[in-house]
Symmetry: C2
Subunit: 153 residues, 2 copies
DNA sequence: TCACAATATTTGAGCATTCAAGCATCAGGA
DNA sequence: TCCTGATGCTTGAATGCTCAAATATTGTGA
């Protein structure tokens, strides 16, 4: 496809895209830094701890975790290895499928999550949730879920 | 601050936050992959090329670039070094301030940008711009710019 | 039953980003 | 003029993510 065949972005489209893209990156970066600074974990690690804590038996298959969080298998594998080294997670072979692995939250992992959560939630509120009106929240949610659906399906 | 003192997220707030956060990450990741695959550059590199191409004389101070794109100085420095190695950018000492550096687009950098742009714009359209109605676009823009203002000020 | 493709996950290399520290230059006051 | 702190940028170490390749197990059709 040549340049001429691509409909360029209008000024409005470009301004919207740049604002959205920049704010996403800044919010994500700020959350990451807060978690690393105060709890020694990345936002990815935090999300995995949350996902496990919400799972039946605080245990989940690697693939299910990856699907739920929309992580690549490799990202999940690297992250869980780190977290196992930190003592937050244990891995064991899946009984029903020898190829699979189950990740399980350890008591220490649960404690770590519980200590990290308040500061993280406060930051999510400060940067995002408490900045937007309920009406705006509904708009963002609707649009985000629509985009997500089309990307994931 | 203890757990009890942090107002937890309601289900609605949490759903909104998770959808926004996930979709931002997926869109950013998809754009990055498209650029790496088709043009051998990251989204950060692309943004720097665009910023330079829009600058007076296709030249800009490192710090101004970093401010404009909301990059950390160190991120900008590493990125520009790589791009200089690739022959897309030249760096020279700033004449008015011996501490400063000016980054300038090379002809090869401009060509690289022009070749990369159509595919990137197409992807931005496919994943974001063309998926949302004009009304939704205005909503996203307004909210994003509001959040940005409060983060950057 | 056997071969072979599909699936689940891991691994290693390479690049990007962050933080902390370092270097050079500039600006302002004694 | 000199000293000192601030500024602009770079550097190196540590970590995380992506891709491609590897490993192990499972399912399937002949």
């Amino acid at each position: 496809m040549t340049v001429a065949e691509v409909p360029w972005l209008t000024d409005e489209e470009q301004a919207t895209w740049r604002a959205f893209s920049t704010v996403s990156r800044l919010v994500e970066g700020a959350l990451d830094r807060q978690l690393v600074r105060d709890s020694g974990m990345s936002h990815a690690h935090y999300s995995i701890l949350v996902a496990l804590s919400e799972s039946e038996g605080e245990t989940a298959r690697m693939g299910d975790l990856a699907d739920f969080l929309q992580f690549s298998p490799s990202r999940m594998s690297h992250a869980v290895r780190r977290m196992e080294e930190a003592g937050w997670i244990e891995r064991r072979r899946c009984s029903s499928d020898g190829r699979g692995q189950e990740a399980m939250l350890t008591p220490r992992g649960r404690e770590t999550l519980e200590r990290a959560a308040p500061g993280h939630v406060r930051e999510v509120r400060r940067l995002f949730v408490d900045q937007i009106e309920p009406e705006e929240r509904d708009q963002i949610r609707r649009i985000s879920e629509m985009l997500l659906t089309r990307m994931v399906e």
